[in-house]
């Protein structure tokens, strides 16, 4: 059974349609990658899964039960934890307070600050982030460090489904590697991971399923055995547009344009693109 399953989900912001007819699922020990260009609706999709927004159409099921989350708290209670692109951290607060924010370790009436400091430091160390001082405001960390704080926080609090919104977008090669390794680790532990990215080279090695989004619509939904890295890359690189573009040029007529159109058509064939196909 899938941990999370979306069927025909859509979302309108007033009269703007940000998403429509999206299917997606993630099960235990699976990584589902969501790929798409800027503004494709990736963030909108995960905000629905995370309970920050409600979907306007379609169904959203968790463990086979239909849900309508009114707040991220409710999603969290179902074990769905999210690391946002605009990083859910409070910049002026110390790292350890951010790490435990919303799930503080209580002790009597107060909280166990010593435990929380120690744990935050240790958990981050386990992720390869050796912080100078967990007392420093999290706003002073680098983007990669902040990302890792947010991810290790979600993993530490026993998420069943981990949603990562472009965790590698702002990272260097080495730190991207750390994050990808962490995704695989999470999968090994039995978590379902929804990994949002626009980099097919990051998605392909770790993903089990791939959802491609474009302007709020599904451009294709593949299992790993149905698509190769090159096809994925081609789709992402706007291969579908190559074909469109060649038609446009063709219609324009003229020798040079026709030749160019032919070239483009050829190129898109070589890349093996079948736009709009679904499994």
């Amino acid at each position: 059974m899938s941990l999370v399953q979306l069927t025909g989900v859509g979302k309108n912001y007033g009269n703007i349609t940000a998403l429509s007819g999206i299917d997606l699922e993630v099960g235990e020990s699976e990584v589902t990658c969501v790929l798409g260009d800027n503004g494709a609706g990736k963030s909108t999709l995960i905000k629905i899964i995370a309970g920050l927004h409600q979907h306007s159409s379609g169904t959203y099921e968790v463990n086979g039960r239909e849900v309508h989350f009114n707040s991220p708290r409710e999603a969290l209670d179902e074990g769905i934890a999210t690391v946002y692109q605009d990083l859910a951290v409070v910049p002026l607060m110390p790292v350890w307070r951010n790490f435990f924010l919303g799930q503080e370790k209580r002790k009597g009436l107060g909280m166990d600050s010593a435990f929380m400091r120690k744990t935050a430091k240790q958990e981050l160390l386990d992720m390869g982030i050796d912080l100078r001082d967990v007392e420093q405001p999290i706003g002073t960390l680098s983007g990669g460090e902040r990302q890792c704080v947010a991810i290790s926080r979600a993993v530490y609090f026993g998420a069943k489904v981990l949603i990562l919104d472009e965790p590698t977008a702002a990272l260097g090669v080495k730190q991207s590697g750390v994050v990808l390794r962490y995704i695989l680790q999470a999968r090994e532990r039995g978590l379902g991971v929804i990994f949002i990215t626009h980099n097919p080279h990051h998605a392909f090695p770790v993903g089990d399923r791939f959802l491609l989004l474009k302007r709020g619509r599904s451009l294709g939904y593949y299992r790993k055995d149905e698509i190769s890295r090159d096809e994925l890359t081609a789709l992402m690189a706007g291969g579908a547009e190559l074909e469109e573009l060649s038609h446009e040029l063709d219609r324009g007529g003229g020798g040079v344009a026709a030749a160019a159109a032919k070239m483009l058509e050829q190129e898109s064939k070589e890349l093996g693109i079948t736009p709009g196909s679904t499994p």
Partner: protein, 349 residues
């Protein structure tokens, strides 16, 4: 002498430049206010000889506590990202409700005190609820309640008591015990101190503990610092904000009870203007107007600065009007300092 000359082995991270006690202190929100308080104390100590006497200090502390108690709530609220313009009038509303309930219904004053508490908390709840419901800025919401309460205070007092002040309630049952709680004086080494000073210390201590040592404190800093982020990780942002408004109301109610039981009657026109004193005390004490940063101790020092200045100006024989000018100047100075502190806190390496 056996002082060891070798430094203790370096502990922790070598990248973390060892911070002296001084630079740690300099990173605290209230440090600017503390320096200001010392300077002002020395100033009046020098220019106003009567300021040096114990009874004057007692008066200063008393005056400070009257600003300081509501300022504790206002500081918490400001750290939580909001502010309350109705706090000054709400103090008097509380006194009026307690007084008129007890007098008009001829019941024990404690009934009036409790009815007043319920009304006060309802005002806080209303402020908070309107804020989270409408998503309007707190400036607008509490400006509206400020005017409504100002009008109600005057109109209802005139309607019920037939004047601008309430009737004397000092001979009603329960007055003595209520006075003992809210308004008694006691002697320490021949100097008469007011009980509000003790309450002030208690409230500051509780607020400091909540802010630094409890999950609620964590949530208050978070909703003020980045409320969308706080919501995303599961902090009940709306409840925290409503709770903060109700905390302000509670402390205003407490101050209102003090006023009632030390003067026995209440002037219905009092109150407006004091909300700014509370807000300025919090800002001078290092709270960021934009939320997410500050301390209760800072607000206490801010209130102490006002108490000192208000009395000091009188004792130095200056024109009392200078107090207003001073208020503005302090606020300006504190705001500039805040900007600097925030930048420092965000880029501390």
């Amino acid at each position: 002498m056996t002082a060891t000359l070798t430094a203790p082995p370096a502990r922790g991270d070598e990248r973390l430049a060892r911070q002296s006690a001084f630079s740690r202190l300099a990173g605290r929100p209230e440090i600017g206010a503390l320096v200001g308080a010392v300077v002002i104390f020395i100033l009046f100590f020098v220019v106003a000889p009567p300021f040096r006497e114990a009874p004057s200090i007692a008066t200063v502390l008393y005056q400070s506590s009257l600003y300081g108690i509501p300022a504790v709530g206002v500081a918490l609220l400001m750290i939580g990202g909001e502010f309350d313009l109705s706090a000054g009038v709400a103090v008097i509303s509380s006194s009026l409700v307690a007084s008129m309930t007890a007098y008009q219904l001829s019941v024990n004053v404690w009934v009036g005190v409790l009815v007043s508490l319920v009304v006060a908390l309802a005002i806080g709840l209303l402020n908070g609820y309107l804020l989270v419901r409408t998503k309007l800025p707190s400036f607008l919401v509490t400006l509206a309640t400020f005017f409504m309460l100002t009008g109600l205070n005057l109109a209802l007092t005139k309607l019920i008591s037939g004047g601008v002040a309430t009737k004397d309630i000092s001979d009603i049952d329960g007055f003595a015990s209520a006075q003992a709680i809210f308004a008694q004086s006691f002697d320490v080494g021949g100097v008469s101190l007011r009980i509000t000073l003790l309450w002030w210390i208690v409230f500051v201590a509780i607020a400091t503990w909540v802010l630094l040592k409890t999950h609620l404190g964590n949530w208050i800093f978070a909703v003020g610092g980045a409320d969308a982020s706080a919501r995303a990780v599961g902090v009940p942002v709306k409840k925290v904000k409503i709770g903060l408004f109700m905390t302000v109301s509670f402390l205003c109610w407490f101050t209102g009870m003090h006023i009632l039981f030390s003067f026995n009657t209440v002037q219905s026109g009092q109150g407006p203007g004091n909300e700014f004193l509370y807000i300025i005390a919090a800002v001078v004490g290092g709270c960021l107007l934009t939320g997410g940063y500050g301390s209760a101790v800072g607000a206490a020092i801010g209130a102490f600065i006002f108490g000192m200045t208000e009395q000091g100006i009188v004792l130095a024989g200056w024109e009392a009007d200078w107090f207003k000018f001073f208020l503005g100047a302090m606020l300006l100075g504190a705001t500039l300092l805040n900007v600097y502190v925030r930048r420092r806190a965000e880029t501390r390496k």
